[in-house]
């Protein structure tokens, strides 16, 4: 007869725990609900292992040197291969390997060969250039197909130039790209995230000056 009572209590307990567990599960599910196109931590492999850490981090090249249209256009712009060539017409490999080759050549008493790193080779292949940086006859130039990392859903209108001119730092949305070997999506780029930022800057201003970041739906959705 005691068992009867105990069984009863156990049952109650089980039911309560179950309910709590389901609630928790539900909560996490709701939390995990993504808008389409929201992929935090997305870090695809790029056709050329371009390192932002090296270029933006160490060499301190300004973001907008390559992403030239960020301040003037809706799109930040993926740099044309010609932009890379501004430097890489001359810089074809790491300083280390070039020096090594020079020494080696000196020992062997020959002219040092031009060293080309495998990644940069892909760039030159895109232009169909030979070792002497001359176009290879009869070869088709082919553009570099980068993989887009930060994708907003198509029903969201985002304009880089508005934000750049307003003084929003690139890192605010893209994270510390200058520290990344391969770029990954840091923020979740969800609507809530955008809206909260807009409210914050309306409250505290941006870079000292007050801004008017619209909270209208039609600021982004049309």
């Amino acid at each position: 007869m005691l068992t009867g009572k105990k069984g009863l209590r156990n049952l109650t307990a089980v039911l309560l725990i179950g309910a709590a567990f389901n609630a928790a599960l539900l909560a996490t599910r709701l939390g995990a609900f993504h808008l389409p196109g929201n992929h935090q931590g997305y870090a695809p492999k790029q056709p050329i292992a371009y390192s932002h850490r090296l270029h933006a981090g160490e060499l301190l090249i300004d973001c907008q040197y390559c992403h030239y249209s960020a301040s003037t256009s809706r799109h930040a712009g993926i740099p044309a291969a010609s932009v890379c060539m501004n430097c890489h017409k001359f810089v074809t490999d790491t300083l280390g390997s070039v020096r090594a080759e020079d020494e080696k050549a000196e020992e062997e008493g020959r002219k040092p060969r031009r060293m080309v790193s495998p990644e940069l080779q892909k760039l030159y292949d895109a232009f169909a250039l030979d070792e002497e940086m001359k176009p290879k006859p009869g070869e088709q130039q082919s553009p570099i197909e980068w993989i887009k990392v930060h994708n907003l859903p198509d029903y969201v209108y985002f304009n880089h130039s508005t934000h750049v001119t307003a003084g929003v730092a690139c890192q605010k949305c893209h994270g510390a790209v200058e520290t990344m070997e391969r770029v990954s999506q840091v923020e979740d780029l969800s609507m809530g995230w955008c809206v909260n930022c807009h409210r914050d800057v309306n409250r505290v201003g941006l870079g000292g000056k007050s801004v008017d970041a619209s909270l209208d739906c039609a600021a982004c959705h049309y």
Binding site: M1, G4, G7, L8, L11, T12, L15, V195, L215
Partner: protein, 185 residues
Amino acid sequence: MAKNLISRDDNRRFLLAVFEREEDILGATNAARERGLVIADVYTPYAIHGLDKAMGLRPSRLPWVCFALGLAGASFKVWFEFWTSATDWPINVGGKPWNSLPAFVPVTFEVMVLFAALSTVAVFLVGRRLLPGKRPRLAASGVTDNRFALVIEETDATFDLGEVSAMLRSFGVSHLEERVDQDLL
């Protein structure tokens, strides 16, 4: 509310009387209470009117639970609606004011009813230990069909079995039985 008259120590004795007719159980219960006998419980297939008085039960306090929780639900909802519409993100909807209280009433009402009803039922079920799959202990066969059972606790030596049985017989008891420490609830 769910006070259990039967304490859990052993060697307690009960008298179980089974009746066939509604009027008999009513009469017997009345008589038993008048004699100051301790009525453990009565088992009936349906709610017999007047039996609560016969047993001398105090009115249920469930209405208070119902009221309190209904109120709680309503006030939560009205706050929530105000918070979402006027505080968290005030959006101009058809030129209506941020705090459109009249428009919040219907949902508030529904939520109040929901809270009140569900909580009352929950409290009742838990209170009366009515839970899915629980194995019932029947005082006597047919108490959920057509028979009525009166269970009297034999409290102390002053309890005169013969006299009580005689009284019960006068109400046309169909079956009389003594039980020891019957777990009835």
